[in-house]
């Protein structure tokens, strides 16, 4: 639309209301430059445009809706609480599980020691409360205090000079004092192996060997000459001919160990149970049976 002196007012207003495109705006500007006498009227129309004022609505808080937020916040905490509960439950279950008796092991099943090296390992087999230890071949072990829990492998009574007799080929086996051996299935052979830094007992695959009353030590290993094992309170250690420190005693989940190496030096560490409870154990609460667990020895 061409701008002339009869229709310029509409064009001016459309221009001021920003309703024109760039080309039409240029036409208006061109017309204004060609008709300077209309500049005053253009400015008057320009002054009719209101500039925005800042007016604040002071009651916004009344307008916000927080209902949905309220739903979210509690759910958030419930979620955290549920997570914590799950973690606590899992932790409790884990601890409880570790403390439970280990998997049953055959009473009749003996353990074998391959005494192929100069140094022999005293082995330890943990028994249930009040159970005694027995010797396999050379029969050294004596019964520990019956009031103490889980036992231990012991030195020969007359052999208090630990380390002097540097080789013990003793074989200790934990047994069921009730001799309820028939109820226990045949099972595992345990191997003690010493690595560079730790003595690890690793279960081998179960073999059917009626004669295997030994714990085998792998050839070439350098196992401690003597291993003393205890669990629970330090009172148990009074019966040992070893100089134990309190801090060597671990918690109930682990068994403290003192060993003498061939230089007659103490090696302290702990046995950590790796096996888990046999589900059938619950049925044997009133009987005493031998149970052998697999441990990892670290020191």
């Amino acid at each position: 639309m061409d701008i002339n002196r009869n229709n310029y007012e509409t064009s001016f207003l459309l221009y001021l209301d920003r309703e024109l495109g760039p080309a039409e705006m240029s036409k208006v500007e061109m017309f204004l430059s060609e008709n300077p006498d209309l500049q005053k009227e253009f400015e008057l129309l320009q002054q009719t445009i209101f500039l925005p004022e800042e007016i604040v609505y002071g009651q916004k808080e009344l307008l916000f809706h927080k209902r949905e937020k309220r739903k979210v916040i509690p759910l958030y905490w419930v979620r955290i609480a549920a997570s914590v509960l799950v973690l606590i439950t899992a932790g409790w279950f884990l601890i409880t599980n570790i403390q439970m008796p280990a998997k049953k092991v055959p009473v009749n099943n003996d353990l074998k020691i391959n005494n192929q090296t100069d140094q022999t390992v005293g082995k330890d087999i943990i028994k249930n409360k009040g159970q005694s230890t027995q010797n396999g071949d050379k029969g050294i072990a004596k019964n520990s205090e019956q009031t103490n829990q889980s036992t231990v492998k012991r030195l020969p009574e007359k052999n208090n000079s630990i380390g002097k007799t540097s080789r013990y080929n003793s074989i200790n086996q934990t047994r069921d004092t009730n001799s309820n051996s028939s109820s226990v299935p045949d099972e595992s052979l345990v191997t003690i192996q010493k690595s560079n830094t730790a003595l690890a007992i690793q279960p081998e695959r179960p073999r059917i060997e009626t004669d295997s009353k030994q714990i085998s030590v792998l050839p070439g290993t350098q196992a401690p000459a003597l291993v003393l094992v205890t669990a629970g309170s330090k009172d148990q250690l009074k019966h040992e001919n070893a100089d134990l420190k309190e801090n060597a005693i671990q918690t109930e989940n682990a068994i403290s160990v003192v060993a003498l190496d061939d230089q007659n030096k103490n090696i302290t560490g702990f046995l950590k149970k790796l096996t888990r409870q046999n589900p059938d154990d619950d049925k044997t609460n009133n009987t005493r049976k031998v149970r052998v667990s697999v441990f990892q020895l670290s020191y």
Partner: protein, 161 residues
């Protein structure tokens, strides 16, 4: 729109809607009530409203509520009870601002609303048409008449001064 979108609308548009209502009704309490009822309706219909068009929806609600209120109260008479508001925009002459405020009161309800929607909120003719329910030609004609009234008022005041 979600509840968060709604709350964002409150933050962004409550001031503008209140200004529009205040300039249109010139009554603080009426303006507050209209803003509150407009947002209440927006909240009720939030699931049907596109968040991108929430401002237009809000002003549409507000405009019609304001028209209804004015009709109900027959407040078409001239009123000059606007409270003073803090002004940030600077105009060449504070006197001109005062004159224009009075000139605004010379406009009828529709003219005033359209001028406010155009100048304060920056809506186009088409958007104003959507908000008010008028067609674009009506918007254009109404706005132009309002501008000419304002211009005549400015000329008359200048002649007096």
């Amino acid at each position: 729109m979600t509840a968060d979108d709604y709350n964002n609308c409150v933050k962004l548009y409550a001031d503008g809607l209140y200004r529009f209502m205040l300039k249109s009704t010139r009554q603080v309490e009426d303006a507050r009530d209209l803003v509150q009822s407009s947002f209440e309706k927006l909240w009720e219909h939030r699931t049907e409203v596109n968040a991108l068009k929430s401002k237009s929806y809000l002003f549409t609600i507000g405009y019609h509520k304001m028209i209804d209120l004015n009709r109900k109260n027959s407040r078409i008479e001239f009123r000059e009870s606007l409270p003073e508001q803090k002004e940030t925009a600077s105009r060449a002459s504070p006197r001109l601002k005062e004159v224009l405020e009075k000139a605004l009161n010379r406009l009828n309800e529709r003219q005033r609303s359209l001028v406010l929607l155009k100048d304060y909120e920056g809506y186009s003719y088409e958007e104003i048409a959507e908000i008010t329910g008028l067609n674009i030609t009506q918007v254009k004609v109404t706005l132009h008449r309002a501008r000419l009234i304002l211009k005549e008022w400015l000329v008359s005041v200048e002649n007096v001064l």
